[in-house]
């Protein structure tokens, strides 16, 4: 995995953090609207990405 690939994954993770943070803020502002589906989608994407990143890093040691 090269620097560009790591930056690309980090970029996606930061986007997903932005979405999660933003929807939590929106939920706090509104109290009513349920953004849980969007939040769960982003968490799933982050899980996949972090797993992939860890696998890639582990493969570097082999």
């Amino acid at each position: 995995m090269n620097k560009a690939q790591i930056v690309s994954i980090c970029d996606n993770l930061i986007d997903q953090l932005t979405v999660l943070k933003g929807f939590v803020e929106l939920g706090k502002m509104n109290n009513k609207i349920d953004y849980s589906l969007v939040i769960l989608d982003e968490i799933k994407s982050m899980e996949i990405m972090v797993t992939e990143l860890v696998n890639q890093l582990l493969s570097l040691d082999e």
Partner: protein
């Protein structure tokens, strides 16, 4: 309503960011359209000139800075706010020094702060237009 029907175009390849900004900005009273890449953004800008463009820096195809150059030709008076991650800060500062960028927000941003920034920028636009007319 803060936005008073001003038109904002959100350009980001991430669906979640577009949904987030759409929800937030419509709630703030803005008219919002979304583009998932630079080319789509340029097509929408030709259809109707936005008051402000929120533009992601890192996108597949046309990058944020390439899209910005084309926006400057098409709609020079439209305010452009670049959205980017902190590790792009050096590039952004360089672009600010060169006069390419005036405003940028760093992800993951605080929506309340973004709302204040956009409101301030929109008010300045109205003020400037009043002076010109």
């Amino acid at each position: 309503m803060l936005g008073s029907n001003k038109y904002i175009l959100v350009v980001d390849d991430n669906y979640g960011i577009r949904r987030l900004m759409y929800q937030f900005l419509t709630q703030e009273g803005y008219n919002v359209k979304e583009a998932s890449d630079g080319l789509m953004a340029l097509r929408l800008v030709i259809e109707k000139k936005p008051d402000l463009v929120l533009l992601d820096l890192r996108m597949p195809g046309l990058s944020g800075l390439q899209t910005l150059d084309k926006l400057r030709d098409l709609v020079p008076e439209t305010i452009v706010v670049i959205m980017s991650a902190y590790y792009d800060a050096l590039d952004l500062q360089m672009a600010v020094k060169e006069g390419k960028i005036k405003h940028f927000i760093i992800k993951p941003f605080d929506l309340t702060e973004v709302g204040v920034l956009l409101n301030d920028l929109m008010n300045n636009v109205t003020f400037n237009q009043s002076i010109i007319s």
